[in-house]
Symmetry: C2
Subunit: 354 residues, 2 copies
DNA sequence: TTGTATGCGTTATCAC
DNA sequence: GTGATAACGCATACAA
């Protein structure tokens, strides 16, 4: 046991083999080794093979720190999201990872915990790390965006997704939230619901504003009045959704449908309160969520929701960056904004006819 | 618009400010700037303040590539998991991130997609990136572990979690799967179930072997026979769980309880098939899953399961590394293996009495 | 095709 | 306390 510890200690401080070690062993110049290792075509095939062979023997691993420092790039993409372990974000990250991996890029991941203060620190860390590209979805309380401007000023490609700062001219990948919202509420109206409540999220985030716009547009389209008492601010967690529902259902004229535009968690809160109050879903109350979380399929009744194609969104983000890179010397200008059309998934919780 | 493009182009190639720029502006040596920036106590307070001030003015960001190259460390932890967007893993990662962030460490994340071939590539990439520590949970088809030995040989601290290679002497953070399994099956037996089936996972992964051991131990403890026909191999997805359930429930003597030791998804498959076949849960069939996925609380009936404290597990992993670092010169030896005791969460799907 | 020399941006080791 | 200088490991311009 003791020996093992000593052994690891030794290994830990062991110098790794470098191109100089290989060069020395082969009696050639380090530059030749470097060329062979980077598969340059200015090397003799024979020496290339020899280098590769001894590199393997000596268990050589390139030091990317040095390589990247020299090349002035890091082949690394930084990602900042509110929480890594939220379905939507972990899916987007999985998508980014998949696309990046194919191109030989690595991901450095940070979570802002929905706090602008931490978001700023994360962004600065990633700038320090010399990431080539920084991908971010803003924290809920993110108000000013100096730290993002800072990213651009440091020559780092900035890509925003989902929760974006509209006024910043960067590459963006977003959902067409307004359209999705419009479709969802239209569907609800077509199912014969008359008084449709809206649970809205923090309006400083564009996405929630857009979803509200879609809601209003749908009401307008069908000549239905906008009733302020049916619009509840900041109901974007399960608990807040539940609380809002209790309030709504106790109104003199309660709603007959609730669109939890913020999230499926909020919709779940709605469902649980409704069932607890003995209100039948969907016959007496229609419910629609947002995000297509896995559980919406499992609840009874299952919950109508909107799928955001999150993994695809991640791939799109990464590929947007690579496309931009390919294009950086060309004259063609990549589209600044890619909008992904979400899909309404109609389930039992809003099916009143048919 | 054109101007904007040109502007970004310019910014992209702009040289960042370095310590030399600050030194030049202040007419002092770069080394002094470095000292001031790293808050050394061998610098005059006045110059330190001056340096910090102009650094802020010039929007200086330290180049960690250079810094880390020089210091021979990267302040970076590499993480390899089968899938980033699986609840358990994303929670562990969130935990690692939280603890690492506090210590000023960054995370580089890769997913193996349950493929040893990709796992090997990920590991090599992380070695190249000079991560200080590599955290891994093995891919399902991971059989030999040369690539992990390679990590150790390169002087990188290796920590395995959850799905570990038992024979490799590394730091490990695991769940006490056997104990948890034993408790779960004991609970099922105490509820009066007599024929308890087991859905097991790939036995080349230790964790599934341990869960089976716990199952067998519980049967032994209560003097119940082990019935081979009730043990189904490789039923670790929702679909495979469903398939296994159809087979089991069509036996001449079907089970009256199913322990989906592999995952809650598998348990969900069991539940859906049972309900579709008109079998009452829990009165006619008891069901227990594994992992405490969010949805287990929501199904009807809710599913009994085992909580693995995944976020806590992540924090433990990170802190184990930091503790090991603090200790590396000391004589004290950190525990090689940390075992976290999972918690049985009894829900409706196994409540037959009381 | 190969070798020499230099620099990427820091930090550490010397002197002073 | 400060400055000059070397070194971390690699990639490339240039010379041979």
């Amino acid at each position: 046991m003791i020996y093992f510890i000593i052994f690891t200690k030794y290994m830990k401080t062991k110098k790794r083999t470098t191109i100089y070690d290989i060069a020395e062993k082969l009696n050639i110049a380090a530059s030749s080794v470097s060329r062979a290792l980077s598969n340059s075509n200015h090397v003799n095939e024979a020496t290339k093979k020899l280098v590769l062979k001894t590199a393997a023997e000596l268990n050589y691993k390139r030091n990317n720190l040095a390589s990247n420092l020299r090349k002035g790039q890091s082949k690394t993409i930084g990602v900042v999201v509110p929480f890594i372990n939220q379905n939507f974000f972990s899916n987007v990250i999985a998508g980014i990872e998949e696309a990046s991996y194919k191109k030989g890029y690595n991901l450095i991941i940070c979570q802002s915990n929905e706090l602008q203060s931490k978001e700023i620190k994360c962004v600065n860390t990633l700038i320090n790390q010399h990431v080539d590209c920084l991908v971010i979805s803003l924290a809920a309380d993110s108000s000013d965006h100096k730290h993002l401007q800072n990213v651009i000023d440091n020559g780092i490609q900035l890509i925003q997704f989902d929760r974006v700062a509209g006024e910043l001219e960067t590459l963006k990948v977003i959902n067409d939230n307004e359209q999705a919202s419009l479709e969802a509420v239209s569907h609800i109206i077509e199912q014969g619901y008359k008084r449709i409540a809206l649970l809205e999220g923090p309006q400083n985030l564009d996405i929630f504003g857009q979803r509200k716009k879609g809601y209003l547009a749908a009401l307008g389209k069908y000549n239905m009045p906008v009733l302020d008492e049916l619009i509840i601010e900041n109901a974007w967690t399960k608990d807040l959704g539940a609380e809002a529902t209790r309030k709504l259902l106790n109104l003199a004229e309660p709603p007959d449908a609730i669109f939890a535009s913020t999230s499926d968690f909020s919709a779940l809160g709605v469902l649980e309160v409704a069932l607890a109050m003995g209100i039948k879903v969907p016959s007496e109350l229609g419910i629609c969520g947002y995000s297509n979380e896995a559980f919406t399929e499992i609840t009874s009744p299952s919950i109508t929701t909107i799928d955001q194609f999150s993994v695809y969104m991640g791939k799109t983000v990464a590929n947007l960056y690579f496309q931009e890179m390919d294009n950086k010397d060309g004259t063609e200008v990549a589209p600044q904004i890619i909008s992904i059309k979400p899909k309404l998934i109609v389930r039992t919780s809003t099916k009143r006819n048919g």
